[in-house]
Structure formats: C-alpha cells, structure tokens
Amino acid sequence: MPRSPAASLSPGPLTPIANGGNLHSMITDGEKQAIITSWRMVAPIATSAAELFYERLFELKPEYRALFPADMEQQKEKLMKMLTFIVDALDYQDSSWSETVAPERDLFLVVVDLGRRHSELYHVADDAYHPVGEALIWALDRGLGEAFTEEVRSAWLHVYRLLAMTMRMGKAAS
C-alpha cells in the first residue's frame, strides 16, 4: 500500500472548467497580491484551515481517508508549509525577474517534482486532483469569510489550476 501523499496540492478543474483564470492563463500581479494578502489572514488560523481542508476532502471522498495516517497532525503541518512556500515563492518584485533562485526554492521545479512523486510514489490519479482543489477553495472560503471575495477566489483558483497543470506535466518528468 502506498504511503500517504505528501501535502497535496491536487489539481483538477473546479467550479469553472476551463484552463486558468482567463484565456491567457498567466498569473497576474493583481492575482499574486490577492493571494499574498489573503494568505496573511489565513496564516494565524493555519491549523484550523488545515482541519477544514481535510474535513472537506474526506467528506467529498471518504475513500481518501485510508491514504493518510491516523494521526493527521504532521500531514496538516505539511499542507500549510507547502501553501506557505507557494505564497512566498510568488512574492517577489518583478524588477528582479532576471535573478534565479535555488532549485529547492523555485516554485516551478518544486511543483514539478511534487507531481512526479504524487504519480510515481503515491499513484495519485489525475482525477484525484479535482476534489482536493475543491476542498482547498472551500477551506479558504470558510476560513476567510467575507474576505474571500470573488477576486480572491478567482486568484486562488487560477493559481491552483496552474500548479495542478504543472504537477500533471511533472508525471512525465525525467
């Protein structure tokens, strides 16, 4: 039986089906800002947010519970660390575009590798990404309340789908 997946960022089309936030599908500066700002509000309630996420995930897919350890504390921590990493990785000045970062700090490389591990080690199928993404948006919605505006929701959805696509591409990584 495979080990439980690492802090998952399962992709998959969510409420809107099509690719990315708009037909151009690049993360905009406005979207980055919306994500960074909203995450600052989630960080103080990280434990609750992680609980909400897994609660919703197992509600959507009860069969996934067996893939995780009985004690979920470490798993929740991993989830929040990964989300924090993603938000931090998006937070840089565009003026520093020509600067590279270490591979272990690079969002593209880390997420590609995450996708490869999800596929090769944990055998996570593509369709598993859908409910996980839905659970993420649901948890953010519950956690942020009124602060989870349509703009914030759209930004998270867009980034999530882009990361999901990156993870799926990572399946074929060498």
Partner: protein, 450 residues
Amino acid sequence: MAARLSLAGDDHAHGKGCELTMTGMDDRVEVMRGALADYDLAQVLQVVSIGRQFVAIEVSDAERSLGTIFAIGGRVIAVDSIMGGGLDAFFRLCELDAQTFRVFRLTPPESLPKPLGLVRELLGEHRRRRVQTPTVRAPSPPMPSPVPRAPPAPTKPPPAAPAKPSPPAKTVPPASKQVTPAKTRGPVLAVSSPKGGVGKTTIALNLALSLARQGHRTVLIDGDPNGDIMSCIDARDRPISGAYDLLFDHAQLPASLLKTTIDELSILPASGQRLPEAQLLQNDLAAAWRVLFDALMRNADVIIVDTAAGTYGPTFSILRAATHVLGVLQAETIAHRSFGVFARALESLPEVERPAVLGVVLNMLQPSESASVDVLSEVCGELPPSWLFDVTIPRHPAFLRASSEGLPLGLVDDKNPPPVAWLFEGLASEVSGRLHLHGPVQKRTKRLLL
C-alpha cells in the same frame, strides 16, 4: 540544433549578434518532457513562468528539433528555430505542428539580452494573431454576406404542389465528415434551426443534461444573445457574465461558467445582467468562438451550443466555429417549409468552416394531428437517411411543468421522471454514438435469469 542567443540589442528581433551554443551547456538539466497533444506550447510557457529559472524549451516533431525558446522570469529571452530567431520565429514556432517538448534548466549567461517580451504579452499577441481580429472591442463594419468558395450545386426545382417544401441540397456533407483543421479539437455541437420557437433551447438543455448524466463532461453554452437558457431554468438573475462578455474580453472564464448539481455539466450563459451590445454582435466572431471553444474543450468531452433562431447573424459565427450542427425541426407545416433554409445556409459556408451535420431531430410531434404526422413521413423521404435521429420528441405537457419549475425534464422528479424525459437519454446515446464520444463504459455480466 545548436541554440544561439543574440546579445545585440537592436538586432535582437532578427536573431543576429553574438552566439551562444546549447551544446556547450554541459550543466543543462532536463526538467520535464511531454507530448504537445496533451499540452500546447502556451501551457508549457505558462507553467515554466511560475518559476524563476533560466530554461530552454525545445519543441520537436517526429523527425527533428524545430526550435528552442529561452525564457526566464516570465520573459522570453531568445528563440532559435529552423526559421531563425527573434519574435517572428517565436510566433511561427507556436504555430508549427510540433509533437513533443522538453524543458531544460540552464545556467544563465553572465549578461542577459533584452527580452523579446513578457510571456503573458507574447501569448496574448499569439492569441490575437490566431483570432485574426484586430480588436473585438472596436466596432467594425457589419459582416458581409457569406460567399461560398465553391459554386453551389443546383437544387431540385420546387415541386408542383406549393404546400411541399423543397428538399435539401445534397451537397451538405454527411455527419461522417472529418473535422477540418480550422475547428476545435473536440466536438462542438451547435443546436440550430432557421425558425424560432421550435424547441432548440429545450432540446439543447435536456440533451446536455442527459449527456452529462451518461458521464460525458458537458459544457452547455447559450449562444443566443437573448439568453434563453437562463429563462428555461428560471435563473436570469444568476449570471455575472457570459459567453459574449468573454468574446469581447470583458470578463474572465471562472466567473462566467456556472456549476450545476450534475458534476459533469456546466453552463456558460450568454451574458451577465446586461445584454451584449448589438453593434458588437455584428462583428465576425467565429475566430473568437473557436478560441473560447478550445479553452473550454481542455476540460470537457463535448460542448453544446444553443443558438438564436435563424442561421445568420450571431448564429452564423457559431456555425462557422462549431464542428457539428444538430438541426431541430418542429413537426409542423410552416417549420417544415422553412427548414430548407437550414441546409442552404450550411452550404453557403466555405467548406473549411462548414460544420458536419450530426443529424436532425424532429420535435413537438403531435401523433393525434395528421398535419404533424405528415411532416414526419415527409422528412423521412426528404432528408438523407443518416440525418434523422431515431428519437422523435413529442409535444407533451411535461415540458410546460418543467418550465414552470425552472428545471430540465430529467430533474423534475428524480424518482419518477416523466416518460418523455427518457427520450433525451436515447437522443444523448445517439448523439454520443455519432460523435464517437469515449464515455465511461460499465462492463457488467449480462444475463436474464437469476
């Protein structure tokens, strides 16, 4: 192919200047590879741009490398291809029929040249070039009358009895015609009829529901600027934006596409609370529709588009972009007489833009009325045998009840659906069979006796 980087400023666009060969980059590390049938080049560029690495994206066909795009920090730095370098080569590389991609991480050169552009902007420009519409925001002159490329085949002369309509021209391609390269990769089915009030919207809505229930990821688009789909389901106040807002770049897809209680069904309304401007609707929107269909098709198995009555105006753009058309014929004399326009309108389209006729469904049949039954027997003789669907939809009070409840037929009573609701399951099976949709197959051992 050796990769070359131009380090000269003004000559950058033409790929001139100092050279840097890929073969000398021993520290290159392949990060990923894949098939461009699964992900297009734009998506690969979007994905690498979430990171902060200096990357080379090499695209190849079955025989050779076609070119390499160098990028860092969301910018394209250089292009080296069989067509040369620079911006022109970038756009041409995006259009080539490449099959595979490989992404390498590289050590950046000490001095980076001036970027060719932001990935976001270059992809936007690429999209605009594909659409070949300078801007859809600025009004343009009304679309000219359609001019067929090939002279139309002569139609049969009208029959002597004036009550009988002309049979459709035989030059319209059968449903088996392959989708042309100008069309979206997946099936986009426009539901169309020359006459209004024949039940297009009802057919489109219930067909989409049935296809979704059969496991096909279905997007139902309201292509009628009047927004009849939302009226059918009593949800006119729900949409924030819709298809026409997307076509005119006034909205984003996530906010426009509506989820339903059926997992596999989503609905894209025509517009938000404000109807689209009439002047904008006169633009040629076929290319914009194709781009929208392509975007939706990445996560859908089939797209159904309800169209406005008639085959010209906004519907004409949809027909040019759709892969297939499903004609709705009301089993009633006047509708029958005007149906010949359906085939002639399709015939007037250039072949590369002409949707394949998936079939014609006879709607609102009244078995107790001889005039209605006569239409059934006449179309059986007039239409090509492959056109008419086996399923015929009768006029039935259940449709009125469904409308008053704001629901498709199949949702009015889950436990005891009206018998006529089952007809749409049959129609969906016929449609999915003709479209060769690869739905989930439930294998069961079949037997009769316990």
